[in-house]
Amino acid sequence: MEAVEMGVEEMGNARGLYELEVEAWNGMDAVMRIVNIARRAKLRYTEMRTVFEPTGRLRLRLMGWGEGSEARWLAAKLERMPEVYRVEARLLRPDEDAFPA
């Protein structure tokens, strides 16, 4: 699968399957706060996975279908969290017919 990687600002409005990768600290509490925001994005989620590293950092991957504007809103909101070091968003598969959440 060819992914299109973008900074939050450059993300277009294409509808499709998005992947967000978040790097953060503060364990389960951070996951809870991330999920709290993700719940409010209009994306239809297909997968979420978190790896807690021995360094105390965590890596959370989130995939969902929806509009680019929603994925961008979510990425921007997550990036503002004090716990979050890095957010990357990519459009995994553009699909004009993808049904939004």
């Binding site: 939050v8 809870m32 809103w73 990036e79």
Partner: protein
């Protein structure tokens, strides 16, 4: 550990804490007292939180509210949410049950970190004593760094009671990257594009939000307005950001905005929005009209730019820096047709006249006349706080804010009960300035128990209750949108507010004329004696107009009586009516 936590707060400059004690926080209160931090005994934790929020807005550094676990912590929630939606700096500190019983539904256990996750900028549960210092410093700093907001630190009781000798140099902060809250420098290319748009605009309008106050950017806003000869309109919190008596300031626009401000925003071809999230309350509806305009959006928070209205040019930067860059970039702007401004002043004049006529026909007090009378008496730097409801909307339209930073209202959450405790918090933050609380009878009843602090701590505030014995703003909607079915919005005459005031040892008056309003307000403000002034308002007549119905566009505002012929759509062919033309130059100011 609590002794160390109290010392850290003291080092941060915290001199007062607002709250209610209890089993899980009493050790911390004890430590605060030993550090000579004054504890204000609010009568409900919601009040403590609103006070901390208001204190933060006035002082521009976080107010601190503390509460015990369980109900104490959950009582803070409304106040924390209020601070979140109005971007106010505050720090909440909660006690928690011991870590050993976590998840066992121990007495007064609530997962307050979970409860407040979506309404805090940051929250953190301290699990080891050595985290207390870094957690408090981090939460305190995050509350004001970048876009302000509430933060929370939760202290389990066993951790509080552990001995902690901070012998070695402890880590100052949790591992947070604060640098991301420093807004980037304005992108020169974006600034150039914005300048070009503004220079070419026919009817540019500047929309100012609360962010302009935090960036102290009002001088730049006004310079730009003067250069462009552009009217300035504000959001409801944006009233706090620019002086209302500047001739180009049209006042707040939106659902309950002023007519000339709605007219300005509706007819703009280019909107320069600064420090605002573009709430639906400000623009009525987003499409199609708002989306057809060229929008330049300046905000320090990148997640706000484009959230509600996709901008033609988005600039993520500190408002002051971005406006300065824009001022440097703007060439001598071609002088434009002043007709548009003249027309706006004509709309203002018609509006003011209509309100005067309407006031004459009112059976009881006209709320806006009371506000104008109070404004004459209150010194310019008076801090004004409101409740939530029709009285707040009247204040939005008719209370002129002269000094930025003196307008405190619950805008984002719209929390009834904000006024009394927020006024107390403001007074604690600025004891040398008068504080005026413009409240509704419904809002007042939600937090009036905190009046006990007025005498306990010598906090002489002036409270004016717009007493219509109704939840009027909702009744207003029932009248217009629910076929006049009045359900659960009218109150009985209980309680007697004069007796409530008396119970708290506060003078109460029921003026019967505007002269009496003036006299009593003047007495309270000049002598710094607390006062509860009860204003009798008729709940059939108290309809806040103009009003833009939900989903309508600004030009469709329901206008006050007598303005049926006035269109809010500007035509370049507009001619001032004959008798006005001669006086057009003297209409500025109101």
């Amino acid at each position: 550990m609590v002794d160390h936590a109290a010392r850290v707060l003291k080092e941060l400059g915290v001199t007062e804490v607002f709250g209610v004690t209890g089993g899980s926080i009493m050790g911390f209160f004890d430590a605060l007292a030993l550090e000579d931090v004054e504890i204000y005994m609010f009568r409900h934790e919601q009040g403590a939180a609103h006070a901390a929020d208001a204190y933060g807005r006035v002082k521009r550094r976080p107010g601190v509210a503390a509460a015990t676990s369980g109900p104490g912590a959950t009582n803070l929630v409304t106040g924390i949410a209020n601070a979140y939606f109005d971007s106010a700096p505050m720090l909440a500190i909660t006690g928690q049950v011991p870590t050993s019983v976590f998840g066992r539904d121990a007495f007064q256990e609530t997962d307050i970190v979970g409860v407040t996750a979506p309404i805090t900028k940051f929250n953190y549960q301290v699990r080891r004593p050595e985290e207390a210092g870094p957690a408090l410093r981090t939460a305190y700093r995050l509350a004001y760094e970048g876009r302000p907001g509430p933060t929370l630190v939760d202290f389990p009781r066993d951790v509080q009671l552990q001995r902690y000798l901070c012998e070695e140099e402890e880590q100052a902060y949790l591992p947070v990257d604060f640098s991301k809250y420093r807004p980037p420098r304005p992108d020169p290319a974006a600034v150039r594009r914005a300048a070009r748009l503004l220079a070419a605009a026919l009817r540019p309008v500047i929309l100012v939000g609360g962010g302009v106050y935090w960036a102290r950017a009002w001088p730049e806003v006004l310079r730009l307005a003067e250069l462009l000869q552009a009217p300035v309109v504000t959001t409801l919190p944006g009233k706090n950001s620019v002086p209302a008596n500047h001739p180009l300031v049209m006042g707040p626009a939106g659902m309950h905005g002023r007519l000339e401000a709605d007219a300005a925003l509706a007819n703009a071809d280019v909107v320069l929005a600064v420090g605002t999230r573009f709430s639906d309350r400000t623009v009525g509806r987003f499409s199609p009209e708002m989306r057809e305009k060229k929008v330049i959006h300046i905000d320090s928070d990148p997640s706000e730019v484009g959230k509600n209205v996709p901008p033609t040019v988005g600039i993520v930067a500190d408002a002051k820096a971005a406006l300065q860059a824009l001022l440097r970039e703007l060439p001598a702007v071609p002088r434009r047709d002043r007709r548009f401004l003249e027309w706006l002043l004509y709309v203002r004049r018609r509006y003011e006249e209509a309100m005067e006529n309407w006031a004459r026909r009112m059976r009881k007090f006209a709320p806006w006349k009371v506000l104008k009378t109070l404004r004459e008496v209150a010194p310019p730097d008076t801090i004004t706080v409101t409740g939530v409801g029709s009285h707040q909307m009247w204040a939005e339209q008719h209370w002129d804010v002269y000094v930025p930073g003196t307008w405190l209202t619950s805008a984002g959450l719209g929390t009834m009960g904000f006024c009394v405790p927020a006024a107390l918090g403001a007074k604690i933050a600025a004891r040398d300035r008068p504080v005026l609380c413009i409240d509704g009878d419904g809002s007042f009843q939600m937090t009036m128990n905190n009046l006990a602090l007025v005498r306990d701590y010598n906090l002489p505030i002036t409270i004016v209750i717009f007493d219509n014995r109704a939840l009027m703003l909702v009744k207003h909607w029932q009248i217009y949108l629910y076929d006049r079915r009045i359900v659960a919005t009218e109150y009985t005459s209980r309680p007697d507010f004069a007796k409530i005031a008396e119970a708290y040892d506060i003078e109460a008056v029921r003026p019967t004329s505007l002269d009496e309003v003036r006299k009593w307000a003047d007495w309270s403000i000049r002598t710094q004696e607390p006062l509860v002034m009860i204003i009798d308002i008729d709940n059939e007549e108290d309809l806040v107009l103009p009003w833009v119905k939900p989903g309508d566009w600004l030009t469709e505002a329901v206008k006050p009586p007598g303005l049926e012929d006035l269109s809010l759509t500007y035509s370049p062919d507009w001619e001032p009516p004959r008798p006005m033309a001669a006086e057009a130059s003297t209409t500025a100011g109101r």
